[in-house]
């Protein structure tokens, strides 16, 4: 059972790819950070929310044959590093695509899907996965 509070705090990032931007150096982080590791104390308390593009392309990928419990019904599937159109790298599952059709450079977009559930009576966790952007 995961922490409901922890999952709740991550909703802006999970649903809408909200990251954070350092107002000092302009670097964007995803998942969001409360401090820029480059500008350090200069950035504390000043990090700004930043909406990352939901569109991008497959930078690289791997096919998963031995899946964790919740994704076992979808195997085999691809997990990709997606480079968004604003240059941010995000790791995520690719769905609605045959693993044989996945290729580097393939245009993809983020969708909201079920990530996992805390058993039959627990919270359902939703978050981003990527699908081919046709």
């Amino acid at each position: 059972m995961s922490s409901v509070a922890k999952e709740w705090r991550e909703i802006p990032g999970r649903y809408n790819l909200e990251g954070s931007k350092c107002p000092c150096c302009g670097k964007v982080y995803f998942p969001k950070r409360n401090m820029c590791p480059v500008c350090r104390r200069e950035s504390i308390g000043k990090m700004e929310p930043y909406s990352i593009s939901r569109k991008g392309e497959v930078y690289t990928f791997s096919i998963i044959h031995d899946a964790p419990d919740f994704t076992t019904k979808l195997k085999p599937y691809a997990v990709a590093m997606v480079k968004t159109t604003d240059g941010i790298m995000i790791s995520a599952q690719l769905v609605d695509v045959d693993p044989a059709d996945v290729r580097i450079g393939m245009p993809v977009r983020a969708v909201l899907r079920k990530i996992k559930t805390d058993g039959p009576d627990g919270v359902i966790h939703y978050g981003y996965k990527f699908v081919p952007d046709e």
Binding site: T71, K73, L74, V111, L112, R113, K114, I124, Y126
Partner: protein, 352 residues
Amino acid sequence: MDVGIVSYGAYIPRYRIKPEEIGRVWGVDGKAMGKGLFINQKSVPSPDEDVVTIAAEAARNMMARVPDVDPKDIGAVYVGSESHPYAVKPTATIVAESICATPNMTAADMEFACKAGTAGIQVCMGLVGSGMVRYGVAIGADTSQGAPGDALEYSASAGGAAYLIGSENIIAKINKTLSFTTDTPDFWRREGMPYPKHGGRFTGEPAYFRHVTSAAKMMMEAMGTKPEDYKYAIFHQPNGKFPTRVAAQLGFTNEQIAQGLLTPEIGNTYSGAVPLGLASVLDVAEPGDRIFVTSYGSGAGSDAFDITVTDNIKDYRRENAPTVAQRMAKTVVIDYARYAMFKDKIVMPSSE
């Protein structure tokens, strides 16, 4: 004040199963069953899809087509469904969060068998028309259940559509809406039960046909119109047969209902059915086109709408999201074993 549709978006999962495959498992002539119901295949949600994800995708498609609308101006979000993932915990809050409409808004889930989506449109019309909200979002979406081996298993499918209701830059004016509602127990699902039950043939004449024809006739009488005054008509479509028959009874032609009749290729998307049919019509509609809509929800009631497409549709960014036809073009047909796994009909070991 004119109230109408400012934007819309649709979503249908990519998987399909055919009636002959379902019939093969249960020892039934599935092809004949499909022919009788006028259903060639039905949509199946992926294991990671539910009403929340379908509604969110439809809502995001809706917002993509109106980039100038600030989601913070949305004052209400209603999701109509009979398959909300939670018994207690609104689908609507999750969907609202996914389009960045929270927190200064109201939200609720609706349930009225297959017409909860159009009921949401009526509520949003009232809120917009009274000036309580600038925009309201009404969504009809379902991942409907049919008991294994039951006639409903051949039709119960998944999909949904979202509507942004407002009074500014409307692409389609809703001239009037009215409803016909009675206590008719033709189809129901008790709390905690996994599958609905239905009254068999009782779902026909006293239920679907009585309510749809009554609401439709009341609308044409109120508006002083005849079937030939409308370019398109959309009727609730639990299968392909009922809407075709009710259209003929009312005097509408097959040409008028063709664009909005999706059930033969995607099955009965329940609360999503009429909203998706209307989306398919709006995908091709031109200024001045008049659209007749009548939904039906078991239990029972029908909501009728008289709609006129406006000139604003010429500048509307339809191309910013996939059309219903595009969503229906790329499909993967699965067998019953995979369908059973996708729909949680196989008991899995506990992961706890």
